[in-house]
């Protein structure tokens, strides 16, 4: 009896599942609606960033539809975006993108984070879908020879390199020695390598490169190794918690580099400043976007216009996660309009040739699909706020940073 019950349940579940439907409708369009899909981390470890990304996509949808929709040839479509939750896990993101393909959703807006993007990009390639990544920065995603994945954001290799460029450009005195501390995930490692290469190019000596496990809150072993080398600049290729640990433990260990500290993604976040208080001051950080970013486009105007519009719509000032999501959506729309077609292959061609200015900076892809043409912004924490100091300056760089006990 039990076994019969089991088998019946199994059969019922299988029969209830999706069966192959008829195809023939145009890719990604139902009636007068153009359908995009996004698998996002709405729950789990990355849910905060996932929700910021979703808001960025939603703002894009809102503006596009207010402005009359997407013009494809002589037809106009309303934009709609379906969201699914990848639970912050790459395998689920890949599965969801696969499901979207079966629902004839060919245009995919990227998930949050490099791991999920990497997993989704393999599926997109197999299915002939098209994906624009908004938050998958790791260069390795784009170095697999995939044709159908593009990234609007600056690649990981730029995150630390940008800080080195800025310091080398505007800091007086210019630091001579650099120590790099990095988390050991793919994104952070790539960023650390990019930073080290840039430092050598600028004539600085990299005296140490130390790694610790992703998510570490104790980096004192690495700091202790670095301390006797007396670097002028300490760079961290990190996420929030590791970035906080470097500053906090440097203060405790009395490590005061002659120049100062720079870290990749931690400093621009409000939590960094809140957690560290005065110790956060003078830290340099890199950001994909700030409201001072140069460039404008017809839909969103300048970066400042974007910030105002977004705040009016959502009540929060936009973070760079929001902006990069909107930019991915913008790139997809521009490419579709340029192509005048909803055929993924035609849109792919026009994406490959896209070369435009936007509120997010230049959007143009190299042969691997990376947007290497967009500069990143460098910010410095001044009076408890991130202030853009390079390449366009909202405020002046304060250099060198005084020791912790004099702040």
């Amino acid at each position: 009896m039990t076994r019969r019950f089991v088998i019946l349940v199994c059969c019922a579940l299988l029969l209830a599942g999706a069966c192959k439907g008829s195809e023939g409708e145009e890719a990604g369009a139902q009636g007068s609606t153009l359908q995009f899909g996004a698998a996002l981390s709405l729950t789990g470890q990355l849910s905060r960033e996932g929700i910021l990304t979703k808001d960025g996509y939603e703002y894009c949808k809102q503006v596009v539809n207010e402005e009359g929709g997407v013009e494809v040839g002589d037809k106009t479509y309303d934009l709609d975006i379906t969201y699914q939750d990848d639970k912050s896990t790459p395998d689920v993101a890949a599965q969801l993108v696969d499901q979207m393909n079966d629902d004839n959703v060919k245009f995919i807006l990227g998930p949050y984070g490099s791991s999920s993007t990497e997993a989704a990009s393999a599926v997109v390639e197999r299915n002939g879908q098209l994906m624009i990544s908004s938050a998958g920065a790791d260069d390795t995603i784009y170095e697999k020879g995939y044709q159908n994945t593009f990234g609007v954001l600056s690649p990981a290799s730029e995150y630390l390199a940008t800080i080195v460029k800025a310091v080398s450009d505007i800091a007086q005195p210019k630091p001579k020695t650099v120590a790099i501390l990095s988390a050991d995930d793919g994104f952070s490692k790539t960023a650390a390598e990019g930073g080290a290469a840039q430092a050598e190019e600028e004539g600085m000596e990299v005296v140490a490169t130390e790694f610790f496990a992703e998510g570490s809150t104790d980096v004192s072993a690495q700091l202790t190794k670095v301390k006797p080398l007396n670097p002028d600049l300490i760079l961290g290729s990190v996420h929030l918690e590791e970035g906080v640990a470097i500053i906090k433990q440097s203060e405790e260990l009395g490590i005061n580099p002659a120049g100062g500290f720079g870290e990749t993604v931690a400093p621009p976040t409000p939590d960094f400043i809140e957690t560290l208080g005065p110790a956060a001051e003078y830290t340099l950080g890199s950001s994909q976007w700030t409201p001072e970013t140069e460039g404008e486009d017809e839909l969103f105007g300048t970066a400042e216009d974007y910030a105002e519009g977004f705040e009016a719509a959502f009540g929060d000032t936009p973070e760079y996660h929001n902006a990069e999501a909107t930019a991915a959506c913008l790139a997809m729309i521009l490419a579709i309009e340029d192509a005048g077609s909803l055929e993924p292959e035609a849109v792919r061609e026009s994406l490959a040739n896209l070369d435009t200015e936007s509120f997010f900076g230049p959007i143009k892809f190299d042969e691997n699909g990376k947007n290497i043409y967009k500069p990143m912004q460098v910010i410095q924490i001044q009076d408890g706020k991130p202030v853009t100091v390079w390449p366009s300056a909202e405020g002046e760089l304060k250099w060198p940073a005084p020791p912790f006990d004099e702040r």
Partner: protein, 341 residues
């Protein structure tokens, strides 16, 4: 528990009419599963593959956790080892998938024996904690051997283009891989449950000292059960790694997998043959359904349903269904009445 587990293996013989119906239904179901790729959407095949994968993991856990009563909270270690064996052999040594799969299975068995000999001497909570820490420790080792495993940055199996050693089987291919592995796991469980070995495990579950006194070589039986569990889990991990292409230590050694295999086996019915499969099928479809329909609340709902299931069906779905049929009573309701809750 063990007593009921023994009962659960009593299966109608094909000589009776009910038995023939069962055999017929089973054959029809099997034929349907074989033919499914022609009927179903690609992505649904992927979902089904995932269901089969979890059913296999739950069955593998059931051998050590259900039959022998040793609640392993570190079975994911075999999953991760299997996955990483295949990934490193294919990515670093240029092996094709099939020999790598064989080695992955061997690694699972070997590691289970080496790890089982010392830690199967622990009982109860101590055993659970020890297995948990072995899994966590293994993840750290994998993270800290970047030259071999790619470290935290993960490792990518060459699956497309000229570097691919074995062509990527796609959703349909992996559907069949997982289906076959599930059938193997079912056959193994069936065999174990009716063998002398299976009775030894149940005896150990009930009272290990008495089992030893009866002349059962408990260490050997436990280690063998652990090795069998490790073998099936490592093979599952190996196929999963190839399916994912890029694997990361945090995912491959994720405690989430361990928790899911335990929960699926417990909710379905530990120590039974079909319990873990019922648990895996039910929970995976439930989780899919909730995820598609409750974008942000689905994990909360999923957790709540698991709690309710454990309260209502403390012996698992399979056991409770049998109890309901034979006694026409639901134990939970009796409890409620007796305690005037």
């Amino acid at each position: 528990m063990a007593e009921s587990a023994a009962r659960s293996t009593r299966i109608p013989q094909p000589s009776s009419p009910a038995g023939w119906i069962l055999v017929g239904l089973g054959a029809a179901g099997f034929a349907y599963l074989l033919y499914a790729p022609v009927l179903l959407l690609e992505s649904f095949l992927r979902t089904l593959g995932g269901v089969f994968m979890f059913a296999t993991l739950a069955l593998a856990w059931n051998i050590i956790g259900g039959f022998a009563g040793y609640a392993s909270f570190g079975n994911v270690v075999f999953f991760g080892l299997g996955g990483y064996t295949v990934a490193t052999l294919m990515a670093k040594a240029g092996w094709t998938f099939w020999p790598a799969l064989v080695v992955a299975g061997a690694v699972g068995v070997l590691f289970a024996v080496l790890m089982g000999l010392p830690i199967l001497r622990l009982r109860g909570h101590y055993f659970a904690i020890a297995t948990l820490s072995v899994a966590e420790g293994m993840r750290e080792i994998v993270v800290n051997m970047p030259s071999l495993t790619g470290g935290g940055a993960g490792i990518t199996i060459p699956a497309v283009g000229l570097e691919a050693t074995t062509s990527y089987p796609g959703n349909t291919g992996f559907y069949y891989f997982f289906l076959i592995l599930l059938l193997v796991a079912l056959a193994v469980t069936w065999r174990v449950s009716r063998s002398r070995f299976g009775y030894s495990l149940r005896a150990i579950h009930q009272d290990e000292d008495s089992a030893a006194a009866l002349g059962i070589n408990t260490t050997r039986a436990k280690v063998a059960a652990f090795a069998l569990s490790g073998l099936l889990t490592a093979l599952t991990g190996a196929i999963y790694a190839f399916q994912q292409v890029t694997i990361y230590p945090n995912r491959l050694f994720s405690i989430e997998f361990t928790v899911l295999m335990v929960v699926m086996a417990v909710i379905g019915g530990t120590g039974t043959i079909f319990g873990p499969v019922v648990g895996a099928v039910g929970l995976q479809f439930l989780s899919e359904y909730l995820r598609q329909n409750y974008l942000e609340l689905h994990t909360v709902l999923f957790g709540a349903i698991i709690i309710l299931a454990v309260i209502f069906l403390p012996n698992g779905i399979v056991e409770s269904a049998r109890e309901l049929r034979s006694t026409k009573r639901i134990r939970f309701l009796d409890n409620v009445k007796a305690n005037r809750l």
